[in-house]
């Protein structure tokens, strides 16, 4: 068991020790002792317990000690606030052959299953966070208590794996197929939702929930009462109801199809197969099947890209590439928002909620100002209603926001951002006007999505104070913020913008001011290829199906409907003018705008989508239709070439910044690694640019 070594190049394992102590059960109503295993890696809760090869060996040794003890039962618990956060993923990216991958899976099973196969009753006291392998070790135990504040879950499918240390086999048998699909598939796909203790109890994952203040004491009391027979835990046999299993699997398949637009997502298919097989499988056969699935996924490019993307998201959340020293940032004591439309109101709301300073909004007339204020106050009221904000906090924030038709109220603002109509001349004159009102210290920002920030700054007295501050819609939900520096923008302004972005809890990418920055530039380029194909005569359904194998959150034409043909077409025209002919002006889109057609699709009241006949009527019949495959290659090639250009132009300095933009700005899935790892592994990067974006091994198999 101990001969399993970390793969070459993997970081040294932070070993989770497993201590065994004997607990006298006499004060709890039973005779004898309980062998209590504590998982503790010696760090605080910021570095959760994980299972690498040495940690598994330590746990194995602890189980041996507990088995050899005269104790009447065995229990396992964690360190304060943390039970265990699962497998140590840092080694997986370095696995170089399937045998190694199989061995890791098998090692976990060999250790964990001892809890299930022990002659002594086994208990998991889940005192805190238990994810993935952390929850699986608990599932191998016969009984589970969970602290009322503990979050639990199986995020494997979200990450590109299957719950392959017993979870996919034990859970369906334990809590039934429907609940298992909920935990393993639906929760994982729903932004990696974790279970609260009450959910874990309702789903059957937990047998009992105790408050954290004396969780261990009550858990031991619970164990004693199970041992002395005063408490009986009934387990239902779920394996008889075959129909329930087929139905649960169908629900899971539906959710996967919806989430990934019909793409084949290997880990989801494998997880559902494991759940389905669990009905008739022995545990042993199920564990063997898990080993095989885990190994094949671990040795796959999509998983490597997922791990790269997951780590990138964690890293970029903390560190902003190219940010000036944080100490340079000015303190923000009052925020101004120019415009009271929907975007401006959303900006005002997020500033208000996070900065908790006075926020003032202006617009051309009082009616628009009032509408903006009403929106903000309404959103605060909704938060109170959903119990996500206290009435006091809402009252405080409500009193901090005000509006006017007179921009003079910006006079003492420290940060003013505009979200007015996307028209360069309008914005230029706005900043000239603002500079006459605000103090010399005030940082000015534009939320433009495609106009040149540099051109706006050129008319200013102090161009060094202007910066692009580009949010994504909906502002409160989308985690990305593109910060655009012009050649004139100084470090104080940038540091202030980054500091505000941090307070807004956004992940930021600092870009060189250039048309449409990163996300919109890539999206517009790629959408242009889809609409071009339609203009050329490709049927819309074929064109729209082109990207299906990628598993994007929505189809190209659904995205177009969401953005709106007006905005999309406006951006395309701007980029056509500023970046060149490769951004084409689609006659179909022009016709959509001219005729007020909003989308290719219509949705009825129950959410069922159908083709919009008004859209079809506007299509010109082109003469050179493409296949879906051809459209996809063309769109991906466009993405590769545009991304390479952006790196060459220095829009961003690293390929991973482009990836983080697509992950967080568009919600593109982890298994694409953003987008560049996918372009690398499909050979498109080398085909189009004669080089990869990432070296082999970074976001792919080495």
């Amino acid at each position: 068991m101990s001969d399993l070594k970390l793969p070459q190049g993997a970081p040294e394992e932070v070993v989770t020790a497993a201590h065994v102590r004997e607990i006298d059960l006499a004060p709890f109503g039973h005779t004898g002792t309980l062998s209590l295993i504590t998982l503790d890696n010696g760090f605080d809760h910021n570095r959760p317990n994980t299972f690498g090869p040495n940690s598994l060996a330590a746990l194995n040794e602890a189980i041996t000690v507990a088995e050899a003890s005269p104790s009447v039962a065995i229990a396992i618990t964690g360190k304060p606030f943390i039970f265990a956060a699962g497998a140590d993923l840092s080694g997986i990216s370095f696995l170089s052959d399937t045998k190694q991958a199989l061995a890791i899976g098998k090692l976990g099973h060999d250790v964990f299953r001892r809890f299930g196969e022990s002659k002594k009753p086994t208990f998991a006291f889940v005192n805190g966070l238990a994810l993935g392998g952390g929850l699986e070790v608990a599932l191998h135990c016969k009984y589970r208590s969970v602290a009322s504040t503990a979050f639990t879950g199986l995020p494997e499918v979200f990450l590109g794996l299957v719950p392959g240390w017993g979870g996919a086999t034990i859970l369906p048998k334990l809590i039934g197929p429907a609940n298992a699909v909920q935990v393993i598939i639906l929760n994982a796909l729903n932004n990696n939702t974790m279970m609260k203790a009450k959910d874990a109890l309702a789903l059957g994952v937990a047998d009992v929930v105790f408050e954290p203040s004396d969780f261990l004491e009550n858990s031991i009391k619970f164990a004693a009462s199970v041992l002395n027979g005063s408490k009986k835990i009934e387990r239902a046999d779920h394996t008889k109801d075959e129909a329930a299993w087929s139905q649960a699997i169908a629900v899971g398949q539906g959710a996967v199809a919806k989430k990934y637009g019909g793409a084949e997502i290997p880990q989801a298919i494998k997880a559902l197969n494991l759940i389905a097989a669990a009905r008739t499988n022995t545990l042993g056969a199920g564990f063997d099947a898990e080993d095989i699935d885990l190994a094949s996924l671990a040795m796959s490019n999509p998983l490597r890209a997922s791990l790269y993307a997951f780590n990138l998201i964690q890293k970029k959340r903390k560190k902003v590439e190219g940010a000036p020293k944080a100490a340079l940032a000015r303190k923000v004591a009052k925020v101004g928002v120019v415009g009271a439309g929907l975007m401006a109101s959303q900006l005002a709301l997020i500033m208000l909620r996070n900065l908790k300073v006075p926020v003032v909004i202006t617009d051309l007339d009082q009616e628009r100002v009032d509408k903006g204020l009403a929106y903000i106050r309404g959103e605060l009221a909704k938060l109170v209603e959903k119990k996500r904000m206290s009435a006091e906090s809402a009252a405080r924030l409500g009193s901090l926001v005000s509006g006017s038709t007179d921009k003079a109220i910006f006079a003492d603002a420290s940060f003013v951002i505009e979200a007015i109509f996307e028209e360069l001349e309008l914005k230029k004159s706005l900043f000239v006007e603002l500079e006459k009102i605000v103090s010399i210290e005030c940082v000015l920002a534009t939320n433009t999505s495609s106009l040149s920030v540099t051109k706006m700054s050129e008319v200013m007295t102090n161009p060094e104070r202007l910066i692009g501050f580009h949010f994504f819609n909906p502002v409160a939900v989308m985690p990305l913020l593109e910060i655009a520096r012009t050649p004139a923008t100084d470090d104080i302004t940038t540091a202030t913008a980054v500091s505000i972005g941090k307070t807004l809890k956004k992940t930021m990418v600092i870009v060189k001011d250039s048309p449409a920055f990163v996300v919109n530039r890539l999206l517009t380029r790629f959408m242009g290829e889809i609409t071009d194909a339609i203009d050329e005569g490709t049927p819309p359904d074929i064109a729209d199906a082109a990207m299906r194998p990628l598993g994007l959150p929505m189809t190209s034409l659904e995205l177009l409907g969401l953005v709106g043909p007006g905005v999309a077409h406006h951006v395309a025209k701007t980029l056509n003018k500023n970046l060149g002919e490769r951004y084409r002006i689609s006659p179909t889109m022009q016709a959509f705008v001219d005729n007020g057609v909003k989308s290719f699709y219509l949705k009825n009241e129950s959410g069922v989508q159908s083709i919009n006949p008004a859209a079809l009527a506007l299509l010109k019949t082109g003469t050179s239709p493409s296949t879906a495959e051809q459209v996809r290659i063309r769109a991906l090639s466009a993405l590769a070439s545009e991304a390479r250009m952006m790196l060459d132009e220095g829009v961003v300095s690293t390929a991973s910044e482009i990836d983080i933009c697509m992950l967080l700005g568009c919600g593109w899935p982890l298994h694409l690694g953003g987008i560049l790892p996918y372009l690398d592994r499909t050979g498109i990067s080398e085909e189009v640019c004669s080089q990869r974006f990432h070296q082999p091994g970074v976001a792919s198999l080495a």
Partner: protein, 400 residues
């Protein structure tokens, strides 16, 4: 405005040696667990019906700070509406918490209150952060010995030369033996609340019994111990309480509320008193405080059937017994042993005396009155006289 005060229930954590059992467990966590254990076994006392949570600690910083009475109440999940405060009279903290809330109950201002104490002497060594006013020494207000508890015990030996080290050691051995016997009979464990203890090195453990007792202690063994406070001294680690961690908690109520809710009554408060002595002989404090409490009650020492005297030092108990003409080995005194065996986490100890007295009352329905008393640093004593609710004899005398 004249309610009878009763002790409904009292519990404690197992006591630990400083730097050992609870070395990685916070004082407030021990207190919270003790409090929750108390409420768990008294389900008729609804947390929202508690009028006060008074918790003592001799050092009120860090994990014993933040107004520990309020803080542990919030941490224990007692509703926001229940108030709390912290209290300090050094060793007599919990005893004072009891008398203070009892005063309010007697005045009819509270119906039900929690009183308790906690001391984590591992986290807060005696004298931590102390900054004695230079006037104490400059103006000879006290002798240097007054601030060193071991020295004050040596001073008691000086004052009463007939209370020898041999008698102190014999008393200490008896305390260990009585505690060992009480443990064997399962008498102590009944009121201990198990507390989870953290150890990074060993993993989670469970404190279920006191750590300090040394069963099998002999007079010969004690005779060989060093006298750390002075050469050729009398006070040793063997005839004194150690440095300990632990917590205690009690429910007090008006008799009418207790009856209304059907709560058990373990003891009825008769009278209490505090009194001062010269700081250099602080261990003598229980003598004047007991005299005062007896006078308030209209009782004499012969009316007291059970004594619970805190054993900060054997000499301090001996000087008390000597004053009242009670034998060193009188069976009425500390029947389960005392702090020399189980430990003395300063501000928590007062309620431990009541736990033992209440159990003594159950065992001895022929006893009508009992006393809990302790000495207090800087020269004080505190005493509470209790009446046995299980008393089945004919009253020798009725307290005022």
């Amino acid at each position: 405005m004249n309610e009878r005060v009763v002790l409904v229930d009292a519990v404690r954590s197992p006591f630990g040696k400083a730097g050992s059992l609870y070395s990685q467990t916070r004082a407030d966590d021990i207190m919270v667990r003790t409090l929750r254990g108390l409420l768990e076994r008294n389900p008729k006392v609804l947390p929202e019906a508690i009028d006060e949570v008074a918790i003592a600690a001799a050092t009120q910083t860090g994990d014993q700070g933040m107004n520990i009475g309020r803080s542990v109440s919030l941490l224990a999940g007692i509703p926001d509406s229940v108030p709390g405060y912290s209290i300090d009279r050094w060793c007599a903290g919990a005893l004072t918490a009891v008398t203070t809330v009892s005063g309010a109950i007697a005045m009819g201002q509270y119906d039900i209150a929690i009183a308790g104490g906690v001391e984590h002497m591992g986290n807060h060594p005696m004298g931590e952060g102390m900054d004695p006013n230079p006037r104490y020494l400059a103006e000879k207000l006290v002798d240097t010995d007054a601030l060193q508890m071991g020295m004050t015990a040596e001073r008691l030996h000086d004052k009463f030369p007939h209370l020898t080290k041999a008698r102190a050691d014999a008393y200490a051995v008896a305390s260990q033996n009585k505690t060992a016997a009480a443990y064997t009979a399962g008498k102590i464990q009944r009121d201990l609340i198990p507390v989870a203890v953290r150890s990074v090195e060993l993993g989670w453990g469970m404190a279920t019994v006191d750590e300090p007792p040394r069963p099998g202690t002999t007079v010969e063994g004690l005779a060989a111990l060093k006298t750390p406070f002075r050469p050729m001294g009398n006070v040793t680690a063997g005839n004194a309480a150690g440095l300990n961690d632990g917590a205690t908690a009690a429910i007090l109520a008006s008799e009418s509320k207790a009856n209304e809710l059907g709560l058990g009554i373990k003891a009825k408060l008769v009278s209490f008193a505090f009194a001062g002595v010269a700081p250099e002989i602080m261990g003598y404090g229980p003598v004047p405080s007991t005299i005062k409490a007896l006078a308030k009650a209209g009782l004499t020492i012969s009316d007291i059937g059970l004594f619970e005297i805190n054993e900060a030092f054997a000499i301090q108990v001996l000087s008390f017994l000597d004053h009242f003409g009670i034998a060193d080995d009188d069976a009425r005194v500390n029947q389960y042993g005392g702090a020399i065996a189980v430990g003395h986490p300063l501000a928590s100890s007062g309620v431990r005396l009541m736990i033992n007295l209440a159990r003594g009352f159950e065992e001895h329905p022929e006893v009508q009155y009992g006393l809990t008393t302790m000495c207090i640093g800087l020269g004080m004593g505190g005493s509470i006289i209790w009446e046995n609710p299980h008393f089945n004899g004919s009253s020798a005398k009725v307290a005022k």
